[in-house]
């Protein structure tokens, strides 16, 4: 693996996940507006929001230093996680012998950063949001882990690059298809959109984890949420639906963008047409799905 490839594809990954994410958010807003028969904001509105919030007044409800630091950690860790997704080629820029676990842990760190921000803000609403966010993460993390481990058993490697390579060249088998379906069913919970936006429920707990944030911190956390959407859609499209891949890097990037747009469109449809679940319903849904997805491991062991 040459360093030029690493640097090039890390820049591409970070660009797509961090810099393009407000655009995708604008896209979802437009789609939602069309469904609700409104005109909606212009597609670049989310960029304007973030830039404006960066310069807004920063209200501090506490002297806790973690309250100041952890919003930045959330956006940075999403940038880190994006390095583990193959976009330009079949191998991601960062790969080593355990990167599926590294990926699982990094998306945990994203959650931790927001939870610590929330609990450092001293607001009881934020505490409720933090508790819910952790529970949601607890229930949804095993699904992604099981899907990746199924891939690891099939491919005989713990590297995301090898899993994608195997999946791309051998085509789908029963176990991988099953885990792909499971990841798709949990995608909305991974992104944290309706029906699973329980930790930020506006009408119920007044944006929960975000309640005390303002100015640059709010911009960071909002940006992190937008990027999270792109990140998990990329996980689904690049790892679990890796077709088609071409020789040309730029074409690969274009294909990835098209696929992500399609998935975000579907996810926005689900978001616009569904009500929010209660936390206990969400937990039951996710844990049932996790138990069900264990069958994919057994199938992978059988070699089908």
């Amino acid at each position: 693996m040459n360093p030029e490839f690493v640097i090039f594809s890390s820049i591409v990954n970070i660009l797509i996940v961090l810099i393009l994410s407000p655009f995708f958010d604008g896209f979802t807003r437009k789609v939602r507006a069309l469904i609700q028969s409104r005109i909606g904001p212009p597609p670049l509105q989310s960029y304007y929001d973030i830039i404006k919030l960066m310069g807004k007044e920063d209200l501090k409800s506490t002297i806790n230093p973690l309250f100041r630091l952890s919003p930045y950690l959330s956006i940075i860790s999403i940038g880190m996680a994006s390095l583990l997704i193959p976009i330009t080629e079949l191998t991601p820029p960062l790969n080593f012998w355990g990167d599926i676990f590294l990926f699982i842990y990094i998306i945990t760190v994203v959650g931790i950063a927001i939870i610590i921000t929330a609990s450092a803000s001293e607001n009881p609403f934020a505490y409720i949001g933090a508790s819910r966010k952790m529970m949601l993460h607890l229930s949804v993390e095993p699904i992604l882990a099981i899907a990746l481990i199924t891939g690891a058993i099939n491919a005989g490697s713990f590297k995301i690059g090898d899993i994608v390579l195997w999946y791309y060249s051998n085509g789908p088998n029963v176990s991988m298809l099953l885990s792909t379906v499971c990841v798709f069913l949990s995608l909305q919970a991974l992104i944290g959109k309706i029906p699973f936006d329980i930790s930020e429920a506006e009408q119920e707990i007044a944006e929960g984890v975000l309640i005390e944030l303002s100015g640059p911190k709010y911009a960071c956390v909002k940006w992190a949420n937008m990027s999270r959407q792109v990140l998990f859609c990329l996980v689904f499209t690049q790892i679990f639906v890796p077709w088609p891949f071409l020789e040309n890097d730029l074409l690969n990037i274009l294909i990835a963008l098209v696929k992500v747009t399609a998935i975000i469109f579907i996810s926005t449809l689900i978001e616009a047409l569904n009500p929010r679940l209660r936390i206990d319903q969400a937990l039951k849904y996710n844990l049932t799905l996790a138990l069900f997805s264990l069958t994919s491991i057994l199938l992978a062991l059988l070699g089908v």
Partner: protein
């Protein structure tokens, strides 16, 4: 060798001195000085042994004419690894307890320091003898001295109860250990591990059932001490009882010494065979059971030290999973086995560091507030920021978040248990079992994170509330010991190659016949890669390089914020537009994860399960036939009737001289005549 002698001398003199001193401060100071001596000596000595891969043996005295056993200090790399851990943790513990004991106003330090030092001595002894008899002696010494620490606060009922449970559980299982030693002695006619190793292959060949029984005895003794469920039922009641510095040593070292003993017996004393392979699977399954139940039960706890005790159970499970996988696959795929064994032992090292750190954090909370109940404390970040940061580091380490030290060892354990899918010669269901073990441990590490975030959030974050002793500030010694441990956590996570090499030496020294370090692990100071099969490298994990994009992004975003120049203003907390006093709207530690707790709590019959862990077990009632009970009441049918008869007889006798003088004189005369005759008879008529 003289280093060990010096450290023993320092420890023993410290023990003797502290048992005479009533002043807490002075007594703690003496302990600290002695501990600095001895832990420096041991640290240097064990580092020397590890780096040069030495094997040191010295006979102190022998019981040769009586028994084939001798008190020999013999240290290989495995012992040296544990000596390293003991020296680090015991230094921090004694540094912490110097000022910490001021909290206990009424209790004398004479009941603490001598036993603490005795515990240090016993744990050093346990790892440095290779003789079954003296192993049991030190093992019992360790149990006994820790029991005295458990009942430090004798006036507390819970301490006595926990102490009793501990005493009974460990002693019943030590009986199994003694039984195993006697059986082995009858075959080998020598207590030393070397001879036992030789004779055990004979036992396996001739009497397979007996060898299974011996393995069972050894297994149950160490598993109970380590606290693996269901044998570790005593642990959550016992570990919170002693002062936090002692519980830190319990959680950090004592329960890990059981893992050491298990490793020593199954990997080096007893030769690898089909039997140990079966026991490998059993060890792994018990490990996973306690990972699952122990950690989910920890989620439901509201008391900091009890929460950590449940985690002690859960974390020991990870080590047992690693060792079990290693034992199972050592004949099938030595690469996989060595990775699993190294993962298990590396987790021992990491766990002893961050577990003792977390117990010390709980101790700091107790020092400041007088309680460790998470519902009663909050917002302590403002009064003890360094403790809060170290607690956060400890929590992230125990959850295995990169780049802290728990990550790498958990990674080795996960991967080795999941890689068993590739061993096609193993039975399908067993492979499936190992993979499910791996997935459960991945899931549980998120649960670990959840429960420790609950600890950090409810104790350190939020508004400053509850009972706080304003005058009592955290002394530097207590803060320093926490910082040292937190620093080791970070260092071992960033540079995993050095501890991996040390631990691999330990594994090789104890179990032999494993592939070379360089063929399993590749890498340099900065990163490390592993091979599951020969020459099958998969790229290396460079924690430092991971930090580079992180730092670049941080600088970028911070400079953007600086450029935007957002004005700052301090405000009150916003309660959705209503005015509340802060104490009206508190989110207590108990409320965290309530829906999840409801999901894992259920009732079977009359027993309430909370997070799969039974609470409030109703007293067991059973009835036996009346006649059997009558036999048991010896008083009723034997003692009282006889006593009644005898009293009546003596009352009758008493009437004979009923205060009448004449009768009395007659009695006297008769009596003296009788005595004269008696004397005459005895003198033989002369």
């Amino acid at each position: 060798m003289q280093y060990i002698d010096v450290s023993f001398l320092a420890l023993i003199s410290g023990m003797v001195l502290t048992s005479f001193i009533k002043n807490k401060n002075f007594s703690g100071f003496i302990t600290l000085i002695m501990m600095i001596f001895s832990s420096f000596c041991i640290f240097y000595f064990s580092l020397d042994v590890i780096i040069e891969n030495k094997f040191i043996e010295q006979e102190i005295f022998s019981l040769k004419p009586l028994l084939n056993s001798s008190f020999t200090i013999s240290i290989d790399s495995l012992s040296a690894l544990f000596l390293l851990i003991i020296s680090l943790v015991s230094f921090c513990v004694s540094l912490f307890s110097w000022k910490y004991l001021d909290v206990y106003k009424t209790n004398s330090p004479k009941r603490f320091y001598p036993f603490l030092i005795l515990l240090f001595i016993a744990s050093i002894g346990v790892v440095s003898v290779k003789d079954f008899l003296f192993f049991i002696v030190f093992w019992e010494l360790m149990t006994l001295s820790s029991w005295f620490l458990v009942i430090f606060e004798r006036e507390k009922k819970s301490a006595l109860k926990g102490g009793l449970q501990y005493f009974i559980a460990t002693h019943v299982t030590t009986a199994f250990l003694i039984l195993a030693s006697v059986i082995l002695y009858s075959y080998s006619n020598d207590f030393s591990f070397k001879e036992i190793n030789k004779s055990f292959s004979l036992i396996i060949k001739n009497q397979p059932y007996l060898s299974h029984f011996i393995l069972f005895c050894i297994f149950i003794a160490f598993v109970t001490k380590a606290g693996v469920l269901p044998f570790g039922f005593w642990l959550p009641n016992t570990y919170p009882q002693p002062p936090s510095s002692a519980s830190s040593f319990f959680g950090g070292v004592m329960s890990k010494l059981a893992v050491y003993a298990l490793f020593r017996f199954f990997c080096s004393v007893i030769p690898f065979s089909f039997h140990t392979q079966i026991w490998g699977f059993i060890i792994a399954s018990f490990g996973v059971f306690s990972i699952f139940v122990g950690t989910i039960a920890a989620l439901t706890q509201d008391e900091a030290k009890r929460l950590m005790s449940f985690h002690a159970i859960g974390q020991v499970g990870y080590m047992f999973l690693g060792i079990g996988v290693g034992l199972y696959f050592i004949k099938i795929n030595p690469f996989l086995a060595s990775i699993a064994l190294v993962g298990g032992l590396f987790h021992v090292f990491n766990n002893s560091i961050y577990k003792s750190l977390l117990f010390l954090n709980a101790g700091s909370i107790f020092y400041k507030t007088g309680t460790t109940d998470l519902n009663k404390v909050s917002g302590l970040m403002k009064v003890m920021p360094l403790t809060a940061i170290t607690a956060l580091i400890g929590s992230l380490s125990i959850a295995g978040v990169p780049p802290f030290n728990g990550f790498i060892s958990k990674l080795l354990i996960f991967e080795s248990s999941i890689w068993s899918a590739k061993q096609s010669e193993v039975f399908f269901l067993i492979r499936g079992g190992f993979i499910v073990f791996g997935i459960i441990s991945v899931f549980i590490s998120a649960v670990t994170l959840a429960s420790f975030l609950k600890f950090v959030n409810s104790a350190f974050m939020g508004k400053l509330q509850g009972t706080i002793d304003e005058k009592r500030n955290l002394p530097w010694s207590m803060v320093l010991s926490q910082i040292i441990l937190a620093f080791i956590c970070l260092l071992a996570g960033l540079f995993p190659f050095i501890p991996l090499k040390i631990i691999y030496n330990a594994v090789i020294a104890s179990s032999g016949s494993l592939p070379k370090f360089s063929s399993v692990f590749v890498g340099n100071m900065l990163g490390v890669g592993i091979n599951f099969v020969e020459n099958y490298s998969q790229g290396a994990w460079f924690p430092i390089f991971i930090m580079i994009p992180l730092i670049i992004l941080t600088i970028l975003i911070f400079s953007f914020e600086r450029y935007a120049k957002a004005p700052k203003r301090d405000v009150e907390t916003w309660y959705g537009g209503k005015e509340h006093a802060p104490e009206e709207v508190v989110y207590k530690g108990h409320s965290f994860y309530q829906p999840f707790k409801d999901l894992v709590s259920f009732k079977i019959g009359k027993i309430q399960f909370k997070g799969f862990y039974p609470v409030g077990i109703p007293a067991i009632k059973f009835s036996v036939p009346e006649s059997f009970l009558k036999i048991l009441r010896v008083d009723e049918w034997l003692y009282y009737p006889i006593v009644d008869k005898l009293t009546k007889f003596f009352e009758f006798l008493a009437q004979i001289y009923n205060s009448i003088t004449e009768k009395y004189i007659i009695w006297l005369i008769f009596g003296s005549i009788f005595i004269f005759i008696l004397l005459f008879y005895f003198s033989g008529g002369r």
